[in-house]
Amino acid sequence: MVWKCCWTTEAVREDECPSIEADEADLYVSLQRRFVAKCIECPRFGEDLDRLSESGHPSAPVLRLLIDEIQRQKTLMNSMAAFLDNMNMEARFLHEIGVVLQTSLGLDEVLSVALTAFTAGKGFGMNRAFLLLADKERRFLRGTLGVGPRDYQEAWEIWDEVSRKDFSLKEMARHFYDMKLSAEKDKFHDILERLTVSLADQSHILNRALLERRPILVEDAPRNPDVDPLLVSILGVDTFLILPLISRNRRIGVILADNFITHRQITPQDVKSMETLTFPVAFAIERAALYERLHEDLRKLTRANTKLLEQQELIVRMEKLALLGKITSSISHSIRNPLMVIGGFARSLLKDIPSDDPKRESLQTIVREARLLEDALDEALAYADSALPALDRWDVNQLVGNVFREVVKNVAGDRMSCILDLSPDLPTIYTDYRQIAYCIKKLLRFNLEMMGTAGELYMGTRLDGECILIEIRFCPEHVHGGDEPVFPGLGEEDGTKGMELSICRVILENYCKSFTVEEYGSNGRRYTLRLPLKKEGT
């Protein structure tokens, strides 16, 4: 019998088998492979088989059975190959996502990668995805990010852009993070705002997915009694998938995914694949949140460390100053006695010298210079004295009054209006008289120096809740343009004055509940010190 098909010929020429494609040249010389790949589907072979059956050849029925089985096996193999291809693609996709997630530390970056993976065509191709995260207190799931189109128009624009740019998944996630993240948050703001679910509501379907640690595919949502109608109305779809995000038994959040535009069916295989992705996503989100918290703690620690260093420096400075004060006090003490004797005898001699005696002027000079030196010593001793604390209960009015009178007498100009306004019957407070007096004295001196000879100084006390408030105001008289005084703040100045004001600031921080420095009037300044009535810790 002459066969139309080449199924009995070991090697064939090109024109003998029309089914073989250009890239299948090896089939020309291999009957076995050619038979399985081409002949059993070739119409010529079908005709040959019919002729064989008609001839009554005993092998014809068996041959047909074998051919049917081969075809069935072939279909099965093709389907398995397709399945394996899909699996392989999915594995590669998950690997790619895993790598990207592993290298992403910022929370927004992780979220961008995750939601892109769910919605991109090269990913799971869902139309929309919403992420709800558990808040820090673990009380609520809150809508955090949504991705996808809001309508058909936008859907077409997005898909057009995606097809034109042909991004890889990683590039797409990066593009989303760089260009679209904030816009996307705004776009779904209304939905995200309403997507808030209490974690305590265990009957809510989102919490059920978390408790049961499995995805839930919701179908026919409006008629599903397990689904909160509010959730259905927010999403506006009948079918959606709930994917729980759990990492180390911690409820991180949930992802809601749907096909809002295409209404493509979500298959069990889709659910399984997307579930696989939720594990690295949950882990990455938790890691990013921990990383963020770590950064915040690090920032706090760095700030605390800086402050500690500053305080340490200040303590060292103050210790040096205290030592300097002790040395100063010792030297001053040694100087005072001889100085007193020199000045004292000069005064004594001056009393008996006639007014026209030429020695009188010399003696007067000795008296004057001795007095100046004594004043300098007093200042040095007062400074040294103030460095050591002397805590007790003190009358603030007495403190303020003494300082006011002393400074005003020595420093205030002739045309200076000085007002002391002490509220009567103030309770005593537990504080360091010397240190507070030192600070107020310094503030008064520096500010009065700035004010010049004219202006108004106000100093008052009053009860202010659980504190006694000391208010000091400086209002210089009108100064000519460009000559406005620059009043010292606390620690704003440079040099010795800056150092002294810095010490004042530290002392006031120690003893005051609060103190403020603010502009007053057009070119004045107001200092407010609040000294607590109660001793700290009582």
Partner: protein, 130 residues
């Protein structure tokens, strides 16, 4: 007029000299002691109306002497003289009738002496026990 007698206790001879000159000019009768032992001896021998006492004597404390004076001659007024203004930190100093920070201008000292003596005269005579 009866002159008030003042005992000046100071380890600095030049200060004793200055006080002696200046206070004698004011009409007081002055005796001086350079240390606590001399002061106690003088107090035993003579009557005084007032003591000017330096807080820091060489190798001894004027405040200890002050305590002794107050204990044994409790009506004898004492004015503490000091080169350092933080004398009030020591409670013992509170026993004194007056305080003066040493200064070349002795006016404050003279005023304080007058004030303390006036107060003493209103209190009556002292009792000698030392």
């Amino acid at each position: 007029m009866i002159m008030s007698r003042i005992l000046v206790v100071d380890d600095e001879s030049s200060i004793r000299l200055l006080y002696s000159h200046e206070l004698a000019d004011e009409g007081y009768e002055i005796a001086t002691a350079a240390n606590a032992a001399d002061a106690v001896e003088l107090l035993r021998r003579d009557d005084f109306d007032l003591i000017l006492l330096d807080i820091k004597l060489k190798n001894e404390s004027g405040l200890e002497l002050l305590q002794r004076i107050v204990k044994e001659r409790h009506n004898l007024p004492v004015i503490l003289c000091t080169a350092f203004s933080c004398y009030k930190d020591d409670f013992s100093a509170w026993l004194a009738d007056g305080y003066v920070v040493k200064s070349s201008d002795l006016q404050e000292l003279k005023d304080e002496i007058r004030r303390v003596l006036a107060k003493k005269s209103s209190r009556g005579p002292t009792h000698k026990q030392m």
